[in-house]
Symmetry: C2
Subunit: 118 residues, 2 copies
DNA sequence: CTCCTTACTTCCCAATAGATAGTAATCCTC
DNA sequence: GAGGATTACTATCTATTGGGAAGTAAGGAG
């Protein structure tokens, strides 16, 4: 049973209650987070484009999701003070790196949804 | 922009609001679901063992998670009417199949948690 | 001065998460 | 045979989160 310490040799374990892994998993293992990160795989996107891409997301929930991902360092928010206002969201290198497992999860869902009775 | 239909040639898209993919993604892209499925990778487990493995989960939330995963066909619930009562949870073949993307997500988190400021 | 666009906030309610405590069945101990 | 132990839940209550609808701000066009 691994503990989660902050020493020289860190043993991180998502199964440990106090490990920061838990918070990270909670952030990423989320419908909208997975979709936002996937949408930005193709390149930087503006708020409106994301909202259209993620059909059915409300502006409030999209803002929340973007802020959380930005605060954790998964994406950058750039404001272009043009008129009308222009805000662009782009993946950081950390964000790029997490697209791999998230894309696999999304494609798994699309490929197996027929086998799932809901 | 792909639609999500139920015809001869299905085009499933997690980005489509009405696609059942959304519900499946919502079920799987969840902290406790990812941890439960990961815990069962090693083989069938009983309720108590799962509760100890997933440190910090309450019995109510664990039951909810198990029921949802069972209803969707990711795991089987077997009751052994021994004394004391004995209930075993095991992955179905569908459940086995989804362990792959979920394990990748969990290990990504454990490997990159140091780079994330929370 | 009003309309339009973009990108959000604010407000409110409903659904979910989570902690704590209790239940049921059956044996084992004293 | 009363009380405790064990396993797997259920019930209850509260706090947090999710989500929809509407409102706000900034600035240019007409």
């Amino acid at each position: 049973m691994m503990r989660c310490e902050s020493g020289e040799h860190d043993h991180h374990d998502v199964y440990s209650a106090l490990c920061p892994c838990r918070d990270v998993l909670d952030l990423l293992a989320n419908k909208w987070s997975a979709l936002v990160i996937g949408a930005l795989e193709a390149g930087p996107q503006r708020f409106g484009a994301l909202q259209r891409h993620l059909q059915g997301v409300s502006p409030k929930v999209l803002t929340q999701t973007l802020r959380r991902l930005e605060d954790a360092g998964f994406l950058d928010r750039t404001i272009y003070p043009a008129v009308p206002l222009h805000v662009e969201y782009a993946l950081t290198s950390l964000g790029q790196s997490v697209t791999v497992p998230l894309a696999l999860l999304r494609t798994w869902v699309e490929q197996h949804v027929d086998q799932i009775k809901l």
